[in-house]
Amino acid sequence: MTWSEMQPLLEQACWDTLYMVGWSTLIAVVGGLPLGILLVLTDRGGLLQNLVANKVIGQIVNIARSLPFIILMVALMTFTRWITGTTIGREAAIVPLAIGAIPFFARLVETAVREVDHGLVEAVQAMGGNTWTVVRKVLVPESLPSLISSTTTTIVALIGYSAMAGTVGAGGLGDIAIRYGYQRFETQLMWITVAILAVVISVIQFAGDYAARSLHRRGAHSGPAPKLRLLKAAS
């Protein structure tokens, strides 16, 4: 296979991957962020403590996370057809990708939001803020560096998942690597695809890390350690 033959294939694959990963990341963030925050809020001692809801959401997230993506894709076919009108192509691949990524991202959000110092929540409550204020002014902005890292991780995972989207004819870099590289022994093309994937993932990881770090730097905690002195009076 010559370069002039490979080039249009690769170009199209790059666009397909970006399209699928871009949309599914967007949907995963929009869906996973509230879900992750809800997991924290409904937990024991949370602002909206509701252990039943917490268990239910937690179980759904766990099950969705443990399904292999390829199974999820097949299982969701009816749903996908209902949403997009088809089970084949890029749009059809976005549905299972997004639905697979929502619980994945939600768990990461949960971990990030749990890290926020409870004292900050209390401070806002003491000012008269309600739960929505706490979410908007404290939980999200304070965990933003971690949330950005979580998004990066999700994008990278989605690029991996998207390789399997080829099975529903959605194209993409992973699909090229499998169909041409593996099944047709076009080793050269396969390695080029792998190289492109490596570069794309590195760039995304670097950009994500950079954004998270620059946000985190200003927020570095440097409070003094508490100095306790014993009370003479009551001892």
Partner: protein, 363 residues
């Protein structure tokens, strides 16, 4: 108008007789895994308008639960909390979530925290603006008020800095500015100086004192450091095992025989040098401090007096002297000289005797 923390303010008191914080029979019981822990056991607290009131106690004494019950961050199990004439416990409603009325009431109660609790993602100015955002104030009004408050706490030049770039003392100043943003009548201070070094502690306490004087702000603070009570408080309460065991104005406490708080505010050392000797603690306040009572005592009864320890200090803006003296003979032999000191208007404590007297009194 910027304050100069550290410089002593003239001691014109803003205290009135109106109670601005009242708790009645406040009880808080924590239940976890079938075990019950009583953090507050029937606490009655009365904080007068315009005073600095210190609650002191060891960790686990319940003081933190107490202050957090005052703005209902912690729901009391029973009892009532009234702040500025408003019964907050009646506003609380059922369930853990704060209703609109309670949230409005909270916005008029400032609170500062041991670990400052500033949002690291916001600048100093934006941190101070946060309560104003919650109150729904406009952008220009918020920034005007925030800068005014930062000026008041002496941090006008740090408005654009992030909390991570500030020292502990500066962070607490931001915390105080933020607590004042809603123009509160009452400021709650939850161990505000416990994470600070002694010098910074002094400057933060001086700031609280100035704010109390200038704005007529009532301050309820909890602490485990006696020095805090000594330097800023008009009144104090001692908590042990979820109960207030002693409470009153500093001068009342000093005038209470056998008061643990008074002894801790003003410690005296020195042991009797022999069996047949009586140790007496004499406390001078105001007028009586100027009289040469000890030499009068020695001349009148022709006894030798040794001074074991003595100190003069300012407690809660009040000049107080304390002296531990030793008289020859047992307590029974010294009833008359001790009576003489009492007659002179001095407060006389005989260490070791209070326990006996208290028992007799109880009978």
């Amino acid at each position: 108008m910027p304050l100069c923390p550290g410089t002593p303010t003239p001691a014109h008191s803003t205290v009135t007789e109106t109670h601005v914080i009242t708790t009645t029979d406040l009880t808080k019981v924590y239940r976890s895994r079938g075990r019950e822990v009583t953090a507050l056991d029937g606490v009655d607290l009365h904080v007068r308008e315009g005073e600095v009131y210190g609650v002191i106690g060891q960790s686990g004494a319940g003081k933190s639960s107490l202050i957090r019950c005052v703005n209902l961050l912690e729901r009391p199990t029973s009892g009532t909390v009234t702040v500025a004439g408003q019964d907050l416990t009646a506003l609380a409603g059922r369930g853990p979530r704060a209703g609109k009325e309670l949230r409005q009431a909270r916005s008029r109660i400032g609170m500062v925290f041991q670990h400052f609790n500033l949002l690291s993602s916001r600048t100093v100015q934006d941190n101070v603006e946060l309560p104003l955002e919650i109150l729904g104030k406009s952008g220009t009004e918020r920034s005007r008020k925030a800068l005014e408050l930062l000026d008041l706490v002496g941090l006008a030049d740090k408005a654009k800095a992030y909390p991570a770039q500030l020292s502990g003392g500066q962070k607490q100043r931001v915390g105080i500015a933020r607590a004042l943003a809603g123009d509160p009548k009452v400021l709650l201070s939850d161990e505000a100086t416990s994470a600070l070094d002694p010098e910074t502690t002094r400057s933060i306490l001086a700031l609280l004192r100035d704010l109390n004087r200038q704005l007529g702000l009532t301050v309820l603070l909890i602490t485990h450091e006696m020095d805090v009570v000594k330097s800023v408080c008009d009144s104090a309460a001692l908590m042990e095992n979820g109960r207030i065991v002693e409470a009153g104005t500093v001068s009342e406490l000093l005038a209470t025989p056998g008061s643990e708080l008074a002894a801790a505010l003003f410690p005296l050392d020195g042991e009797a040098s022999g069996e047949d000797r009586t140790v007496v603690d004499v406390t001078f306040q105001g007028e009586s401090a100027t009289q040469p009572v000890i030499s009068q005592l020695a001349r009148t009864y022709n006894i030798d007096i040794s001074i074991l320890g003595a100190a003069i200090d300012t407690v809660g803006g009040l000049q107080v002297g304390r002296m531990r003296i030793e008289l020859p003979g047992r307590y029974e032999d010294n009833v008359v000289p001790i009576g003489f000191l009492r007659e002179k208007g001095l407060q006389v404590d005989v260490p070791g005797r209070e326990a006996v007297l208290a028992k007799e009194g109880a009978k």
